[in-house]
């Protein structure tokens, strides 16, 4: 998981230059990771000690001069370098008070930027695309600078990367709507030009970010439509590839959920191999406010952390040593973050029951055992789809479909979605499902009569949806009391937030049984519940306990009369299922969702006392069932595990402990629970004793006493 911590303001920001660039020209790392160099467009360079939030040095240029590029710190010579008025390179040291008196050199061509990578000589990038090392340039400042770029080609972005002693200057240019990427490598000096693929609908990339990983450069760029693409360049130039223009292959890394809007400004920066920080995109569940800083996991396409940024957002975002630097409004904020190594388990919260996963893998081939196929409904749709199929030869594009969704009639939309899912290749489908689901949900929210349940089910079945792609879906289903959809979503979504889980739980518990029984549910889960409740009578007739285990009678229950049956034995299986079959099946799904204790606990407090008691009763019921080994005989793919049940009991008791302690109606339940747990503890204590004696047996066998004399047989091989 990634997390954004509480940020703080480092400094104010001057008036913005334009819509995408704030008053800050650039932020560069200073002499160590705690110092940054902030270059203001209003003639000043300031060094801040980040942890103290204090400036430690500031230099200004004279009236009439302007700083034209971000100042950098040359780690090799411990000097600061900045360019003023495009052509004057100034170099000064920490203890120089006035920049004016520092060394300066006028070069023959306009400098775009000075780029500095850690532990290497700074590199000067000219506006014309030429690249020089700073020291060689300063040795003869008036040396001629060649033109690399074409007439109207403009450098939009540039960076320098260093890995394995290989220094690479990357810069992207724009020329009449076409975008290029240049990679200048040193030793030997080579310049490779790549064409950035563009689609007509896509405008210019608004933000770039590059990182070295292994022997490749991973370049990430964000388009205004919210698409985040990644391209991979080799760190070292191949000998042959130096000539000509190469197209740069790209892959879609992430599609920010923008709906149909476009970003005005925004920036993305790579944090590590799985995480990307994006500023300026809206939070998927917070409407259309775009002033969010989000960390996305690109592996799982999930939102990991977010933070609202007050004020205007620019296309500027820097990241140095675990801190993000975000200019917004009139200030520059420093926001520490942390990205833990992402595993599926960490991304999804608590690890899901692995047993059921493996089972479903092995059994998925059989159609009848398909875990969430709505068999009763699909035939009708299938037939209709097949008729449609002939009439509409070419499949719709996503955009067309989305247009249809906005306006079309409910049934048509369902059919079209089904059609689309059937015909679209898997890779495209992955991207499209999210958009479709978002669109369907937003229409359903506005149009009360529109609720394409089948379409949602079909979308879920693709398994490309997850909670963070379309957060509204579950709440919509709750509003519509579509428990079937809820059930399927619970089965499929790995990333349901604890708050939503609790809301669903509350909805399930508060809905009367009679209402839920009519709902069409995943049959298998219902069968499981049926067997579970039936088993109880069968077992009781057999006489209950297996394996000869007879729980010791509890002190309170001791009665000498043989007719002690009259007294309620908390361990007997006379407890009937406190909820209906369907409700039980739904609760089972809740039990199996992934969650983390801490976030769940506050939300659980929302449950009312009757709800808690019913739920607890149900948990106790299923726990009793489980402890009598009843569930082992039921063949089912998804069953709550023993530990899940116990975890839920614990957390529920934690959340409502005080309430349960005083509520009179809970008394019997709690005491039952207590007795049962006590008997279990006793059982385990007995088992512990047995273990001890068994161990002694084992030990005694090992250290056999030979006595004073024995005659043995040994064999040597």
């Amino acid at each position: 998981m990634a997390a954004l911590y509480e940020g703080y303001t480092l400094c104010g920001v001057g008036p913005a230059q334009n819509s995408s660039i704030s008053g800050i020209l650039g932020i560069e790392l200073g002499r160590d990771i705690d110092h940054v160099l902030v270059t203001d467009s209003s003639r000043s360079v300031t060094v801040y000690k980040v942890s103290d939030q204090k400036p430690t040095g500031s230099w200004t240029v004279k009236q009439g001069q302007i700083i034209t590029c971000a100042a950098v710190f040359n780690t090799q010579s411990q000097e600061y370098v900045v360019v003023t008025d495009n052509k004057v390179v100034r170099v000064w040291k920490e203890d120089d008070v006035y920049m004016e008196r520092a060394f300066k050199a006028t070069v023959s061509a306009a400098v775009l930027r000075v780029l500095s990578a850690a532990d290497s000589e700074p590199v000067v990038l000219f506006c014309c695309g030429a690249v020089r090392f700073l020291d060689s340039l300063l040795a003869s400042p008036q040396q001629p600078i060649e033109d690399v770029l074409a007439e109207e080609e403009m450098i939009r972005w540039s960076t320098v990367l260093k890995a394995d002693h290989q220094l690479v200057v990357l810069f992207s240019t724009e020329q009449r709507g076409e975008h290029w990427l240049y990679a200048h490598r040193f030793n030997p000096n080579t310049l490779v030009k790549h064409r950035l693929e563009t689609e007509p609908c896509l405008s210019a990339p608004i933000s770039f970010s590059a990182r070295c990983r292994g022997s490749n450069i991973h370049l990430l760029y964000l388009y205004l439509n919210g698409s985040l693409y990644e391209s991979v360049l080799p760190l070292r130039s191949s000998a042959t590839g130096a000539e000509g223009v190469q197209a740069l292959p790209r892959s879609l890394l992430l599609n920010l959920p923008l709906g149909e809007e476009e970003l005005i400004s925004g920036a993305a920066v790579v944090l590590d191999e799985a995480h990307v920080a994006v500023v300026g995109s809206p939070h998927p569940s917070a409407g259309h406010c775009k002033d969010y800083l989000c960390i996305w996991n690109t592996h799982f396409q999930t939102l990991q952390a977010s933070k609202e940024m007050a004020g205007r957002i620019y296309s500027q975002l820097w990241c140095y040593s675990g801190k993000l630097y975000v200019p917004h409004g009139k200030m520059l904020s420093v926001i520490p973050f942390e990205c833990q190594k992402s595993s599926l388990a960490a991304t999804m919260g608590k690890l899901k029951q692995s047993q059921s996963e493996s089972k479903s893998c092995s059994l998925l081939s059989s159609w009848t055992a398909q875990p969430h196929g709505d068999i009763t409904q699909t035939p009708g749709i299938k037939s209709r789809m097949s008729t449609r199929n002939t009439s509409i030869k070419s499949a719709l594009t996503v955009d067309q479909l989305i247009e249809h969704i906005k306006t079309g009639a409910g049934e048509d939309v369902q059919a079209e979605v089904g059609e689309f899912i059937r015909l679209t290749p898997q890779t495209d489908l992955q991207l499209a499902t999210g958009r479709m689901a978002l669109e369907l949900v937003s229409r359903s929210q506005t149009d009360a009569n529109f609720y394409p349940q089948c379409a949602f089910l079909q979308l879920l079945e693709t398994r490309y949806l997850c909670y963070s792609v379309c957060p509204e879906l579950l709440s919509l289903a709750m509003v519509k009391k579509d428990f079937h959809l809820c059930q399927i979503a619970f089965q499929i979504f790995p990333d349901i937030p604890e708050a939503v889980t609790c809301a669903c739980l509350k909805a399930i518990l508060s809905t009367p049984d009679s209402e839920i029984e009519t709902v069409n549910l995943d049959t298998e889960s219902v069968i499981f519940m049926k067997v579970l409740t039936q088993n109880q009578s069968g077992l009781e007739e057999e006489g209950g306990q297996q394996n000869g285990f007879c729980p010791p009678a509890l002190e309170s229950d001791v009665s000498d009369t043989p007719c002690s049956k009259l007294q309620r034995d908390p361990l007997a299986l006379d407890m009937s299922c406190p909820v209906g079959l369907h409700k039980g099946a739904l609760l089972n799904e809740v039990l199996q969702t992934a969650y983390s204790d801490k976030p769940l606990l506050p939300h659980l407090k929302d449950l009312t006392v009757p709800e808690v008691i019913v739920f607890l009763q149900y948990l106790l019921f299923i726990y009793l069932k489980y402890s009598h080994d009843a569930h082992k005989q039921i063949p089912a793919l998804r069953t709550p595990s023993f530990s899940q049940i116990i975890d839920w009991i614990c957390i529920l008791l934690d959340a409502h402990f005080t309430v349960l302690a005083v509520a009179p109606e809970a008394k019997r339940l709690v005491s039952d629970l207590h007795k049962f747990v006590r008997s279990q503890v006793k059982l385990y204590a007995e088992l512990g004793k047995i273990e001890g004696s068994l161990q002694v047996l084992k030990k005694s066998k090992q250290s056999e006493d030979f006595g004073m004399y024995s005659i043995e047989v040994i064999e040597l091989f």
């Binding site: 006595g707 004073m708 040994i714 091989f717």
Partner: protein, 685 residues
């Protein structure tokens, strides 16, 4: 490969004696160890602490102190006598009475000219060390109270003496006391108890270090007679101190069983003002540490728990080797058990008596790993007490079980045993030839017709045995001039050859038919710990203390091809890293290529027909081989077949019925017989 019936014997109640004193000789790297029972043992520090020499003790001799003067070793004890040892013949050279009551301490000066002893009557007696004896010179000023410890100033001009409640410094020249330093008594209840200064050390810079019964180690200035520094080391007594040769390290033995090291180091880096700082603590003993000594690379300590612990100082080693491993010596490096192979008898040698046992008998067959039903229990046939005060030096029972011989420092005795069914009787052979006054090692020929008795000057006396008695046949003398005592004898099965090994590492082979020396095995740098002559090939198989093995063909007077192969290929690291020497070599007549060896922890059969293990081979491969099918075993096996079923082995012998006798003495059994250690409060007890 082989199944063996093993008589696992644990009724040999061998009880080692506690260590009382240690003395290290820097020049020849020998460590002298004095035990409570008066035994003095010499260990060779650079030959893996092999126990080269054992001088058996006597009743009531109570050694308290041990001191080297040059190459000569002196001891003094509570019987009031000073003893010099004849290390060549491993015996007492002479004793003289000091006339001062019990002697508590003895120490010689570095110059090798004088010895001082501290007596019960409060005198410090100065002895001059002459060529062949010591001569009383004079008493230093007599003090009130006993002298417990003494230490010479390295210059030889001053002596520090530890007494009751004080330390006295003497000028040797005048004999007068220069300083008197009072040691504090303990606080509280121990206030009424005297403070015994158990040990003092006089350093060349004038510092006197004392260890006392209050548990303090104190540094004194001999110039002013003042206390410089005092360290509380233990709640009980500090019993022993020892300083290293260059006086930068001090080891302290305490009655709580741990050893503390102090080092003389500068507190500030690269400054010259050095101080004694407590640095390390070694906990290897369970009982009082009565003696410590710091040798070049290790701390040696011994005490009431009878084991000699060599704790290497790891900062003095650059590579990990057998020398850098902790070594605990529990058992003597001599066999205390001899077996009558043909009649199933065992002779156990105790310091003051011998026991003869008959092995039990089993019934039926058993699968490997199982115990058999004991049909007849082992039986103690004889308990033979030694006449006189001297302890037994060596003993032997003849292979036929008819003869028993033992020797003390003063006499050799031979007995004839008559066994008919349940009646056991012995007759002492009275007419023993005069030359057989004492033996350093005894051995019978395999047909029990001769007794070989190792005597002084590396000679071996030959005695023929018959129904009527014994007759001196002749003396075998080595060609070399070595006078060292013989500690191993090996006779060949066919009665033609006899091999002897002495402390100079010389191995001589004699032809018994001609009674002439036959040849000498090239001298190897390490001592011979065990040897035997092969019954069919007449090759002499020798094990050395450094775990090397040699096979020497007596007839061809050269090493065998197999021996050369072993030397060329080298032995496995695990084999070389074992820390106890092999104590017996046996041969299996049914399988001439097998050599059976044992040390304290294992029994090993070397199959000379199998390939030798190289460095990459799994050395302990018995479990692997066991799991393999029979036909694959051959390809996976190597020459060393090690059985680790038994531990704390004192002796292994192969009887003529192919059964093995393994005599174990579990260390737990020894420790249960020790007096209780100082009771220490443990948490929550």
């Amino acid at each position: 490969m082989g199944e063996f019936k093993v008589h696992r014997v644990r009724f040999f109640d061998y009880m080692p004696s506690g260590i009382r004193a240690l003395a290290f000789n820097q020049h020849n790297e020998r460590m002298a160890v004095a035990r409570m029972d008066g035994t003095v043992e010499i260990f060779h520090c650079s030959d893996r602490f092999f126990q080269e020499k054992i001088i058996p003790g006597r009743e009531q001799c109570g050694i308290e102190g041990l001191s080297w003067v040059g190459e000569r070793l002196f001891s003094a004890g509570l019987n009031g006598e000073i003893t010099e040892y004849d290390l060549t013949n491993q015996s007492v050279k002479y004793t003289i009475e000091a006339y001062g009551g019990p002697i508590w301490t003895i120490t010689g000066n570095q110059q090798g000219t004088h010895l001082v002893v501290g007596c019960e009557d409060g005198t410090v007696k100065l002895f001059e060390v002459n060529e062949d004896k010591i001569q009383f010179e004079r008493n230093l000023d007599r003090q009130k109270g006993r002298i417990i410890s003494l230490s010479w100033h390295p210059s030889g001009s001053k002596i520090a003496a530890g007494m009751m409640d004080r330390i006295q410094v003497f000028d040797v020249e005048t004999g007068h006391s220069i300083h008197r330093m009072l040691a504090d008594r303990g606080v509280g209840t121990s206030r009424s108890k005297e403070c015994m200064v158990w040990s003092v050390v006089y350093l060349s810079d004038g510092t006197i270090i004392s260890g006392d019964s209050v548990g303090m180690v104190k540094m004194w200035n001999d110039h002013t007679g003042t206390l410089i520094k005092s360290h509380n080391v233990t709640k009980c007594d500090v019993l022993a101190l020892s300083v290293s040769q260059n006086e930068d390290s001090l080891v302290v033995g305490t009655s709580e069983g741990f050893v503390v090291q102090f080092q003389f180091i500068s507190m500030v880096l690269e400054k010259d003002d050095k101080e004694w700082v407590r640095t390390r603590t070694f906990r290897n003993h369970t009982h009082d540490v009565r003696a410590v000594a710091e040798i070049t690379t290790a701390v040696v300590s011994g005490g009431m728990d009878t084991q000699l612990v060599v704790r290497p100082l790891l900062d003095k080693f650059e590579v990990k080797s057998s020398a850098s491993a902790l070594r605990k010596i529990n058992f003597p490096h001599r066999s205390l058990v001899s077996c009558a192979r043909k009649s199933g008898l065992m002779l156990f040698q105790y310091p003051g008596h011998l026991e003869l046992w008959r092995l039990g008998e089993s019934e039926g067959q058993g699968i490997p790993g199982s115990s058999l039903l004991v049909k007849r229990k082992p039986e103690k046939l004889l308990h033979l007490k030694v006449k006189g005060e001297d302890h037994i030096r060596c003993s032997a029972v003849s292979p036929c079980g008819e003869w028993i011989a033992y020797s003390t420092a003063s006499s050799l005795r031979l007995y004839r045993l008559h066994c008919d069914n349940n009646n056991v009787s012995i007759t002492k052979i009275s007419k023993i030839p005069k030359v057989l006054s004492s033996a350093s090692q005894l051995c019978f020929s395999s047909d029990s017709s001769h007794l070989f008795s190792a005597s002084t000057q590396s000679s071996v006396h030959l005695v023929s045995l018959s129904q009527s008695g014994c007759k001196f046949v002749g003396t075998l003398k080595p060609k070399s001039g070595s006078h060292q005592a013989i500690h191993l004898l090996a006779a060949s099965e066919d009665g033609k050859w006899l091999a002897s090994a002495n402390s100079d590492h010389e191995v001589h082979v004699y032809n018994l038919h001609t009674q002439k020396p036959h040849c000498t095995v090239p001298i190897y740098s390490s001592a011979v710990s065990a040897m035997a002559i092969h019954p069919t090939t007449n090759c002499l198989f020798m094990m050395h203390a450094d775990q090397q093995m040699f096979e020497f063909s007596i007839e061809q007077k050269q090493y065998t091809d197999w021996s050369r192969l072993v030397q060329r290929k080298g032995l496995h690291d695990i084999w070389l890293g074992r820390d106890t020497p092999c104590l017996n070599v046996m041969f299996n007549p049914q399988n001439p290529s097998h050599v059976i060896l044992h040390d304290t922890y294992m029994l090993c059969i070397i199959d000379q027909s199998l390939p030798l293990p190289d460095g990459k081979t799994q050395f302990y491969n018995q479990l692997t081989l066991k799991s393999l099918p029979k036909e694959q075993r051959r390809s996976h096996s190597h020459a060393f077949k090690v059985c680790k079923t038994f531990k704390d082995i004192l002796c292994v012998e192969l009887m003529s019925d192919q059964s093995l006798v393994v005599v174990e003495r579990p260390l737990e059994d020894i420790s249960t017989q020790l007096p209780a250690p100082i009771k220490q409060k443990k948490f929550a007890t």
